[in-house]
């Protein structure tokens, strides 16, 4: 049995043991989703060097017209359009919270996900292992204290990191001061699997034999108008006795007035001696108006069980501004723009020019002035290192009743790449139905057609299309006063459903 399975079994056993206790409460959310998707990639092939010919643009091509790369060997290589590959991933998630064991403040929390592919093809990423424990811990909370044990997460400037272990938080002066320490066996970054999992090694690369040990803590304060946190985290590889991660960070938020606030932070990489990512944002919020300006600096980090940190990745610095306002009742407008510039990488070759700066902007609007109708539209463009894109999208939602919403949507995208001839154009358009027969039940179905054209100067250009289907259902049940309808925050974070 995997560690995730053991944790789930322990949790279920604990729940069964405590079930008869008086006053027990629970909250359970079941979420099931399925999608039908397809994609086309590339397939490496080769032809005899003696068979290549000069193509219409002057370059060498294969007998069937696809550009080839020849290095003097007997064979030349080429990339053909790959096969159409389709998949039907199916995911079910159960989020359970149980309390009332006779110990006030004690709660058990578990979030378990079952995954699979209905067509049983190894095509779509993220459907293995078939059972994943996202979190599963016991929590004890009193006014000055929080204790957690099990599989849990900490949210820090270093990311959303999971681990199997414990966390302690002390609040000796209420919200004024919080002291936290945590530690345990680390889970991989961006995924709740150990770094030793084969699912994390699709390239057959080096992989640690043991899980890292993570330890960290923070001091946080919150006084009227000013809150902040200073944190530290490190990870060590027990198999090599080496440190794979060690960083310190500062985050702060100041309410300058009731309408103006300043937020930001930075982290420092103690292993390389470099400043990591940083950001600052000045926001003005008044009723339906929000204006924000800020700057940020992004430097990727790599765990030191891999070699990439020694390749000296450079940071970029960006300045951005965004705004949201209502020019009329029922109309919301959103704008955003950003410019970024990479640091000097310390290397350049005259034969290859590479973009080292870029910009991106988007404008969106929502209108709810017609009874039972809501309209959304957005335009976005970005241009810079590696790739560019330009697109627009729109949707119209009709609410014939309180339990049904019908949406028609469409989007157009154009995306050229910097390092490969592959200018992709895509159209998508479809219909979506959201059904809420009860306050604690939500069902949706989305069908869309997707047409893609890839432009190249050879026979590898292609056009293809597909129909994508998304189905899902969410149910929430519970007991007592905490039985709740589906909270908007669990459906999605607030503006996630709007086109950007």
């Amino acid at each position: 049995m995997t560690s995730a399975g053991r944790c789930a079994a322990t949790l279920i056993a604990g729940l069964a043991w405590t079930a008869p206790l008086h006053g027990q409460g629970y909250r359970l959310r079941l979420d099931t989703r399925m999608q039908s998707v397809a994609y086309r990639g590339w397939a490496l092939d080769s032809v005899l060097a003696s068979t290549v010919v000069v193509g219409p643009t002057g370059g060498l091509v294969s007998p069937d017209g696809i550009a080839v790369t020849c290095d003097g060997a007997a064979y030349c290589s080429l990339f053909r359009p790959g096969p159409k590959r389709s998949s039907l991933p199916l995911v079910g998630t159960a989020d359970l919270s149980v309390w009332g064991f006779g110990v006030p403040g004690l709660r058990l929390q578990a979030k378990v996900r079952g995954l699979g592919d209905v067509e049983n093809r190894d095509i779509w990423p993220g459907v293995r292992p078939t059972l994943q424990l996202l979190d599963g811990y016991a929590e004890y909370v009193t006014a000055p204290l929080t204790v957690e044990a099990g599989r849990t997460h900490v949210t820090t400037r270093f990311g959303f990191r999971g681990f199997d272990g414990g966390r302690l938080e002390l609040r000796p002066f209420g919200r004024l001061l919080r002291l936290s320490a945590y530690g345990g066996w680390s889970l991989a970054r961006g995924l709740d699997l150990p770094v030793t999992s084969p699912e994390l090694n699709p390239l057959g690369d080096y992989q640690p034999t043991d899980r890292q040990i993570v330890a960290g803590g923070w001091v946080a304060w919150s006084v009227p108008r000013f809150g902040g946190r200073i944190g530290y985290q490190r990870e060590d590889d027990p198999s090599t006795n080496g440190t794979t991660f060690e960083r310190a960070a500062l985050d702060a938020h100041a309410a300058i007035s009731g309408e103006v606030s300043l937020a930001g932070g930075a982290d420092y990489d103690l292993t390389s001696g470099d400043w990591g990512s940083a950001d600052v944002a000045l926001s003005y919020v008044r009723q339906s108006r929000r204006v924000a300006v800020g700057g940020r600096r992004y430097r990727p980090y790599f765990d030191l069980w891999r070699i990439w940190g020694a390749f000296s990745p450079v940071a970029y610095s960006a300045a951005w501004a965004s705004g949201a306002f209502s020019p009329a009742v029922g109309v919301d407008v959103r704008v955003r723009g950003e410019f970024y510039q990479f640091d000097d990488p310390g290397v350049s070759v005259a034969l290859v020019s590479v973009e080292d700066d870029g910009w991106r902007w988007s404008v969106g609007a929502s209108m709810a002035r017609v009874e039972r109708w809501t309209f959304n539209a957005a335009v976005h463009q970005e241009r810079g290192a590696g790739a560019a894109s330009f697109g627009y999208e729109g949707q119209a939602t009709f609410d014939p009743s309180s339990f049904l919403a019908l949406t028609a949507h469409g989007a157009r995208t154009r995306r050229p790449l910097e390092f490969r001839f592959d200018d992709s154009k895509a159209w998508s358009y479809g219909m979506r139905a959201d059904l809420r027969p009860r306050a604690d039940t939500r069902i949706y179905a989305d069908v869309q057609r997707y047409d893609e054209t890839r432009e190249r100067g050879d026979a590898a250009a292609l056009s293809w299309n597909q129909v994508r289907i998304n189905l899902g259902a969410t149910f929430a049940v519970g007991s007592g006063a905490d039985h709740r309808p589906l909270h908007p925050a669990i459906l999605r974070i607030p503006d996630a459903r709007r086109p950007r």
């Binding site: 397939a43 292993t271 070699i307 990488p345 970005e382 390092f419 992709s424 998304n470």
Partner: protein, 256 residues
């Protein structure tokens, strides 16, 4: 017994009059009411309880139910209380989802007023069946290279570079288990010899297809080419002190 007909008459009259149109007090219309209502409740909740029950508070405060502990529950046979209108605070407008990290990290207790921590996993641990319409807009897959090369946001906060990015790129034929120089980056004729700048700028994108062995073909100190991959500010002594085994991958037993 004599009261029963009176109750029936009263109920019939109420039914004939139709539902009562509730009018929120003037205080609820203030621009900062959403922000100040917690303080008002802590000062004196008796006025709030005239209309609201514990269930009403929990419409939003599901993440911190203790704030409603002083309210009466909607027991059987009693009114359910005046429902509240749930909506996001003004601070959440205009791309807040992309830039919520600093505030969420500095003052998580504010977020916990409405959000449950495990709900963060819905976005930060996306599942394989999440189609368009979630965090990313519909059709994002087609244009994700532009957002990923110069990270529009930190992709790795939600996606594993190996388990998600590389896993998909392998299936799409972008990541290859063959020697370099096959001509995928055909828009730059001499990309192989001049890839240094692109690599340092977007190394996270490179390693979503390339394994360590690809780069070590030329960059290992023990190999034939021995091209130095370290930047001008590289602090070798510092990294060696933290994790000498990483240095040994390229330098072998002779780590300088």
């Amino acid at each position: 017994m004599t009261k029963l007909p009176l109750v029936a008459i009263a109920m019939a009259a109420a039914a004939a009059a139709g539902p009562i149109a509730a009018q929120a007090p003037d205080s609820h219309g203030a621009a900062d009411f959403l922000k100040r209502h917690g303080t008002l409740v802590r000062q004196d909740a008796s006025e709030c309880q005239v209309c609201h029950t514990r269930e009403n508070c929990l419409e939003c405060h599901i993440g911190s139910p203790q704030v409603a502990a002083g309210f009466f529950t909607a027991a059987s046979g009693q009114a359910v209380g005046m429902p509240v209108q749930r909506h996001a605070p003004p601070s959440h407008q205009g791309g807040f989802r992309d830039r919520h990290a600093p505030e969420a990290t500095a003052t998580p207790q504010t977020c916990a007023g409405c959000h449950v921590r495990s709900d963060c996993l819905d976005c930060h641990r996306p599942d394989a069946a999440s189609g368009g319409g979630g965090y990313h807009p519909t059709g994002f897959l087609s244009r994700h290279p532009a957002s990923a090369y110069a990270r529009e946001t930190s992709c790795s906060d939600c996606h594993s570079a190996q388990g998600f990015c590389a896993a998909c790129h392998v299936r799409a034929g972008l990541a290859l288990d063959v020697t370099l120089g096959q001509g995928y980056h055909d828009a730059k004729r001499f990309f192989l010899v001049g890839h240094g700048q692109a690599a340092r700028q977007s190394l996270e994108s490179c390693v979503s297809c390339h394994a360590e062995r690809d780069c070590l073909t030329c960059h290992a100190a023990t190999g034939a080419q021995r091209f130095n991959p370290h930047g001008p500010d590289f602090d070798a002594a510092r990294m060696k002190k933290r994790n000498p085994d990483m240095c040994a991958v390229c330098h072998g037993a002779n780590v300088p």
